[in-house]
Symmetry: C2
Subunit: 149 residues, 2 copies
């Protein structure tokens, strides 16, 4: 058995598992307000700045537009957002919040606090979190640069 092929030595497996499990932990809270986790991410992007083209939203989330487009269509069908052709540039599709989408921010505002209970563990505290965030951000930047065309 090759040591380097053991699960316990894989960073990726840990990230993959932690990501799935924490997303599962969000599920009951997000279901209440009618969102999936990726849709919640899109809403956070729009709550920060309303009226953005598809491309900007995708880049912010490190996703491809072919992932975001169908996601946005479902969100439009649920009346959380609108999609309109840009006036200056006819290729762009500008995504904006509906009143329902704007109102959702208030309902969602408690979720981060409710979630903090689920991830409360010895290793992640007020003191250690910033260091962990920096490590993750560094990793993400390194990976995203190494994946460029």
């Amino acid at each position: 058995m090759k040591e380097q092929l053991k699960l316990e030595n894989q960073l990726c497996f840990r990230l993959y598992t932690a990501s799935r499990l924490i997303t599962q932990a969000y599920h009951p809270y997000l279901t209440k307000i009618g969102l999936t986790y990726p849709q919640y991410l899109v809403m956070m992007v729009l709550w920060e700045q309303d009226g953005q083209p598809v491309n900007d939203i995708a880049r912010r989330l490190y996703l491809e537009t072919n992932t975001v487009t169908p996601l946005l269509k479902r969100m439009e069908a649920e009346d959380f957002i609108t999609r309109k052709k840009g006036k200056d540039d006819g290729r762009k599709v500008i995504v904006s919040l509906t009143p329902k989408g704007k109102a959702l921010e208030e309902q969602a505002s408690c979720i981060p606090f409710e979630m903090s209970g689920a991830v409360a563990c010895r290793s992640i505290t007020e003191e250690t979190a910033p260091e962990l965030y920096r490590t993750m951000d560094d990793l993400i930047e390194t990976l995203s640069r190494s994946l460029l065309p």
Copy 2:
């Protein structure tokens, strides 16, 4: 704009993004040997111990059996594994490596070394990695316990 709803304050978004990007980084290496990333995880479980029931594989990967079953069927179609009913317990399906599946371990053995280049960044070194792994393991255990029925 609510502070707690900003992307930059989300641990989950970081895990989700890092997981996706690192899996993408694996893609070219795994394609060469005909595996997807989740299939690679299953192979690692079987290389560690051949001949396991579906349930054990799923538990080891923190996945549901309804995710693993179709995954295994595709791997069976590719002749990496076999699926046979258990003799002692007729409900179990025992998953075993084919010769092709066993031979793949040798081909895969270089992947972890090739990948270590992609994640090489200031924040993750020989010294800091064990601490990061412990934090992730702690988080995963906390989450998996909080998600129990």
